[in-house]
């Protein structure tokens, strides 16, 4: 087919794509931070011996992980107002992505917690720390260092999930791309550039995570 690549329309709207990318990153950072706090609490609940902690945590993780995120996004934006909780589109998306990342990060953290030897808890108890102190200053930091590799892929996948915000018209990268696509008809160019922006961002996230991993690695 006679299709000549012409990126002019895309470059003209490039700042629109970039501001979309900035919003995507912002959504990801806020949601992942909230999700990480939530996931840490849930992971401790999952590995505790108390049934009243384990069962609700397990239900939360299983339910969220088995639901498509698009259903959750639409539910939060269109159905929650019926229950009296009316959030604007950005807040409702952050709510969903936080809950979603909480469930995925909880599983990552749980695996990390299981790899911490019991002796550390016992040592903490022996020097008179409370359970909370042991968790926050011994176990959590060690666990975080252990899970960095799998944390990296989870964070990248959560960043990619911000594209779903386009479904409720949050003007992030995918929404911006779709708008440029429809307005300029430079279809191939638009999606090439958009995809490249996502790929480069994912690579950068991976590089940052590898850097953190190297910095935090124990000296050998």
């Amino acid at each position: 087919m006679g299709y000549t690549l012409n990126f002019a329309a895309v470059w003209r709207n490039f700042d629109f794509l970039l501001s979309g990318l900035a919003l995507s990153l912002g959504l990801a950072v806020i949601s992942i931070l909230i999700g990480a706090a939530l996931g840490l609490v849930v992971a401790f609940a999952l590995t505790s011996k108390n049934r009243f902690a384990v069962v609700p945590a397990r239900v939360y993780v299983t339910v969220i992980r088995n639901l498509p995120i698009l259903v959750l996004v639409l539910f939060a934006f269109f159905a929650l107002p019926q229950m009296g909780l009316r959030l604007d589109k950005i807040k409702s998306f952050v709510l969903v992505l936080s809950l979603y990342s909480g469930a995925y990060l909880a599983e990552v953290f749980r695996a990390g917690l299981l790899s911490i030897p019991r002796g550390l808890t016992e040592a903490g108890l022996a020097i008179g720390l409370t359970g909370m102190q042991i968790r926050s200053s011994i176990i959590a930091p060690l666990m975080l260092r252990n899970v960095l590799p799998s944390l990296s892929s989870t964070i990248i996948s959560l960043f990619k999930d911000t594209s779903l915000a386009a479904a409720i018209a949050v003007p992030e990268l995918t929404f911006a791309a779709r708008k440029i696509n429809v307005e300029s008809f430079r279809v191939i160019e638009t999606w090439m550039v958009t995809s490249a922006l996502y790929v480069v961002t994912c690579f950068l996230i991976a590089a940052v995570m590898r850097f953190v991993e190297r910095r935090l690695a124990l000296p050998r």
Partner: protein
């Protein structure tokens, strides 16, 4: 007009059933095509020459660095722009299959590389050709190693099939939205759709655990 949820559910029963049918077809087609393609991707990553390996590595990295929604939209719009008249269903399945293939490729690569080198050497020592080594020594072990991650990918594909609603494929989620736009029962029908997706994915997860137990080595 009837106003209870059950009455509305009864009115919508065929629509929902069709929606489930379309969701299941999308998922099965994408998983099947993606897995077949993914095995070749994995083989190319492990046994390919330098050029082939670089090309396939670029393919998997680009696909895995792009959100599925972008793949779905790109596949839909680009296929039309280059004159391929795929329609939303085929374009969507194509995007999901490509996504699936890059994930399966990585899984296959990981599984093949996890097999100790000694196995290949032992096979060589008893005079097996490469094909024989691959089909009767490496592949069976790799399959067992792949299984948990592959089942995970399958559940992922069912969840990703919801994205086809954005390009107008009438699968379960789009059908649900249509029903809601008629009766405004967004709470009830989103719950219903969520419940159905949950059942399917939970089923896949447990089926995977069952198969894993069945194929595990006796210890």
């Amino acid at each position: 007009m009837s106003h209870t949820f059950l009455e509305q559910l009864w009115i919508a029963r065929y629509v929902i059933t069709y929606g489930i049918g379309v969701t299941v077809s999308i998922s099965l087609l994408a998983i099947f095509a993606g897995s077949v393609l993914g095995v070749f991707v994995g083989l190319a990553l492990v046994y390919g020459g330098v050029v082939l390996r670089l090309v396939v590595r670029a393919y998997t990295d680009i696909i895995r660095g792009t959100p599925v929604l972008v793949l779905v939209l790109a596949s839909y719009y680009v296929s039309a722009a280059v004159g391929l008249d795929l329609g939303p269903f085929s374009a969507g399945v194509l995007a999901l299959a490509i996504f699936c293939s890059s994930h399966v490729g990585e899984i296959v690569r990981g599984a093949l590389q996890a097999i100790p080198k000694g196995q290949t050497e032992a096979a060589k020592a008893i005079g097996l050709t490469f094909t024989q080594t691959f089909t009767s020594v490496l592949w069976p072990q790799a399959m067992r190693q792949c299984l948990p991650a592959w089942v995970n990918t399958a559940a992922e594909m069912v969840k990703a099939s919801t994205l086809l609603s954005v390009i107008g494929v009438a699968e379960l989620l789009l059908r649900t939205q249509e029903i809601i736009s008629r009766n405004f029962m967004s709470l009830q029908f989103y719950f219903l759709a969520g419940g159905l997706y949950f059942i399917v994915n939970y089923g896949i997860e447990h089926f995977g655990k069952y198969v894993e137990r069945k194929t595990a080595l006796p210890s």
